[in-house]
Symmetry: C2
Subunit: 199 residues, 2 copies
Amino acid sequence: VLLYDSAISGNCYKVRLLLSQLRIEFERREVEVVNRGDRVELLGDKNPAARIPILRLDDGTHLAESNAILWYLGEGTPFVPSSRLDRARALQWMFFEQYSHEPYVAVARYWLVVQGRDPGEISDLAHLHERGYAALDGMERHLTNESFLVGDSYTVADISLYAYTHLAGTGGFELERYPAIVAWLARVAQQPGHVPIDS
Amino acid sequence: VLLYDSAISGNCYKVRLLLSQLRIEFERREVEVVNRGDRVELLGDKNPAARIPILRLDDGTHLAESNAILWYLGEGTPFVPSSRLDRARALQWMFFEQYSHEPYVAVARYWLVVQGRDPGEISDLAHLHERGYAALDGMERHLTNESFLVGDSYTVADISLYAYTHLAGTGGFELERYPAIVAWLARVAQQPGHVPIDS
């Protein structure tokens, strides 16, 4: 398979991490994510949202949206739960990630780290932090009583939320406020086949 | 089952529509969505994102995120595709809906219709329309060649995107620009067991 990828994108890292843990060989094709003016021309025929990651399958078709790619790769393996209710709970966390977490936790990092802005230059940084902390609060409430997000084991839901949560500090979030999240991040990083984002 | 619901929420309507089409009886409990100050207290123990819809299952546990609830209800029925690749394609559209469509198409309607603001009062309405039109452009490109979003039949992906797309006009979007979307909306509304949002 071929991954339309970005080394600095947490959404792309999710896919690289699961491919590594499944020991699936893949080719990476780096796509510029900072200068996005031409992305509909570049990616629009492969993904209606013209975003990466996009996975090109052996039959030449394309699959997009990081969490849908995780689901595709993980189905039939222990990374996607075997019970119907636990599958829905995994998806619940993955939709939470894209709606309530990524637009704040990832976007604060994007402006500060990827674009290199000063905090004072980002007009809505306080809003990003307020909503991002609300997402982290929700994770902390759950992880206070649980080792992983769904059931007793590591799944695609953990991969999905690990990607930007472990980078939240670079977006100005104080992760030390969240002992359950910090312990969960360490458990995720200890899973067999784990690779860091810059590998 | 019990649905924590809002009559005006498209996310809640998705669940009501599929429950109707599956002929599953359910109880509705209306939750105030306009005044959200106390929603962590009200909903935080049922959903880490403290949003509706939330479905209370027969065993007393709760499931949240509209698209995860659709998946749970639809698995094992024709509403969730039977092939692994088509399941991933359905999820691709549902993640597209939550990340690239709902935050713009639904939010423009929210300010104009639910909050009753004048267009001139909404500071980022131009941005909501720009990003919402980009999402509609992506749907139109796909639906120009396809009858439904995934494969040849109506699935949870269509339910997910129908909910706010059919209301886009009330958010100031000119749907008449999109003949393939307009034809798809009519096909969706003709499905057996279809109910309107205000039923």
